[in-house]
Amino acid sequence: MEFKNFSLFINQTKVNRFADDLAGGKIMSTLCKKCGKQYYPPAADCSSCMGSEMEWKELKAEGKLLTFTKIHVPPEHFAVRQPLMPFSSIQFEPCPIGIIEVGKELPIMGWIPKMDIKKIKVGMKMKASPFALPDGKITIVLEPV
């Protein structure tokens, strides 16, 4: 699978495999073989010891919500086109996003499709899972546990 199916624009990276695993149902991190530092998002190189020998490790993707928002004015790529029918408009109801902290300082960003923004609270326990979108793209969603 192309990494672009996750990143939308960027396709050339040493951690391409992340998208394949995501499509296979796993959220993967990398682990430095020399110093043991773990990376999410996965990195091909270790900034802690400057090593580049990494191994892949699946995350048990559960943790506390660090923060969240709901973006009502989206960037162009996500923007809603106005309908061609005169005197008509489209109601846009964006999906909240958030960041959970997994294990020791591993932040996972994801969409929070199933929750009302007013009910989302910093500190709540959530889990992250891969999600295949109808257009073939692959992403991550967060839901309370």
Binding site: F6, S7, L8, F9, I10, T13, P41, L66, T67, F68, T69, K70, I71, H72, V73, P74, P75, E76, H77, F78, A79, P94, P96, I97, I99, E101, E105, P107, I108, M109, G110, W111, I117, K121, V122, G123, T139
Partner: protein
């Protein structure tokens, strides 16, 4: 270390400048700077140009567009970039030029031409100042990043939407007194709180503006400064700090480590502390950013930023006046020009030329300018003597 002073300032009108191109905006600011200092470009050794976005300038090498149009070639000029802190990065580079002995008189220019693009395109360009690989796929925008900082700050310290709105009310009030500001219009608390949501919990009036504008400064070495100007304003301290690309990787979501590191360095170099500062411009790209800046700059304790604005301590006459030029919120935020504009405001205040916005007897001033969602931060401290 060589002493470096500001001997000339030139501020163009900020706003939706559909009447002028990038290079024409710079010409206005440079011309004003020449008039203010009495220095001609012949006497300037070197130049630095701050422009943040290639997309905004419709081509790479915007610095060449600029030096060509003001006729500065063949002398040295190059571009500096640090997202929203580009102007301060340019000023720091100008300082380095002189402190190193490479030049005696330097022109620092900051400019951005943002409104030729639709908001959604500008939002997309700025959104990718976050991590384009790992954050952008979730539709992140600039307001989105600061909204996440706001939600974390509210959860940890009980900061309220009303306190955020009070920052907007203050900055719009001062913007109404600044002839160079984009929005010269006071607003009520009610209006701010009921404006539409841009990124929850940030509303329209919590956001800075999208702006066209330019600003220019002439810096000189001690000897030159004294011969050019009767009252040069000295750069007494400089600080720069950085932080992780992604919000989630930061040690704290309620504070900008880059700012704290920069502040420590600048205070140390200037030999002053937060309580010595008479006037400051802080990076209020969003109202929450100004509240976090109060705390990171040491103007109040951590978590007390909301209360500081509630008590009106950051108005003229308060403990520490902040953004009494209108700030990014109401003066406008042309990315490359903002840092230069901040230094111009402090120079005016220290010269005693800030009219209705003047802080009485201001001697020491500070500028704080953040790039991106906190990936880089610059602080400068200025003194009258």
């Amino acid at each position: 270390m060589k002493k470096v002073g500001i001997v000339g300032i030139g501020h163009g009108k900020f706003g939706v400048r559909s009447d002028a191109s990038l290079r024409e905006l710079v010409f206005e600011a440079v011309k004003a700077c020449m008039d203010d200092s009495g220095v001609t470009l012949k006497e300037v050794d070197s130049m630095v140009t701050g422009v943040a976005g290639d997309e905004f300038s419709f081509g790479i090498q915007p610095s060449a567009q600029v030096h060509d149009y003001i006729g500065f070639h063949p002398k040295p000029n190059f571009r500096v970039e640090a997202a929203c802190a580009t102007g301060s990065a340019a000023l720091r580079t100008g300082w380095m030029n002189i402190a190193s002995g490479l030049a005696d008189v330097v022109l620092v220019v900051g400019v951005e031409k943002m409104t030729e693009l639709p908001t959604s395109t500008a939002t997309e360009i700025m959104g990718r100042a976050g991590d384009a690989t790992w954050e952008y796929p979730f539709g992140t925008t600039f307001p989105g990043y600061y909204a996440m900082i706001a939600n974390a700050h509210m959860a940890e310290y009980g900061t309220t939407e009303e306190q955020l709105a009070r920052v907007a009310v203050k900055n719009h009030y001062y913007g109404s007194l600044n002839p160079y500001a984009q929005m010269q219009k006071e607003i009520t608390l009610e209006k701010a709180i009921t404006s539409f949501t841009v990124a929850y919990p940030l509303k329209l009036y919590d956001c800075s503006l999208i702006t066209d504008g330019a600003a220019a400064i002439i810096l000189a070495s001690e000897e030159k400064a004294k011969s050019i100007s009767k009252k040069p304003i000295w750069i007494a301290g400089l600080g720069c700090g950085t932080d992780a690309m992604r919000l989630g990787d930061r040690k704290s979501l309620t504070s900008l480590e880059a700012t704290r590191v920069a502040a420590r360095a600048a205070y140390k170099m200037a030999g002053v502390g937060p309580s010595d500062i008479d006037i400051a411009t802080a990076h209020d790209c969003f109202t929450i950013a100004e509240i976090v800046a109060y705390e990171d700059l040491g103007f109040c304790e951590k978590g007390e930023g909301g209360k500081l604005i509630e008590a009106k301590e950051t108005y003229v006459g308060g403990r520490i006046p902040v953004n009494v030029d209108g700030g990014l919120k109401s003066k406008g935020h042309p990315l490359g020009a903002t840092g230069v504009s901040m230094a111009i405001e402090i120079t005016k205040q220290l010269r005693g030329e800030a009219d209705q916005r003047q802080v009485k007897n201001a001697e020491i001033g500070l500028t704080h300018n953040v790039g991106g969602s906190g990936q880089v931060s610059f602080i400068h401290i200025f003194r009258r003597e």
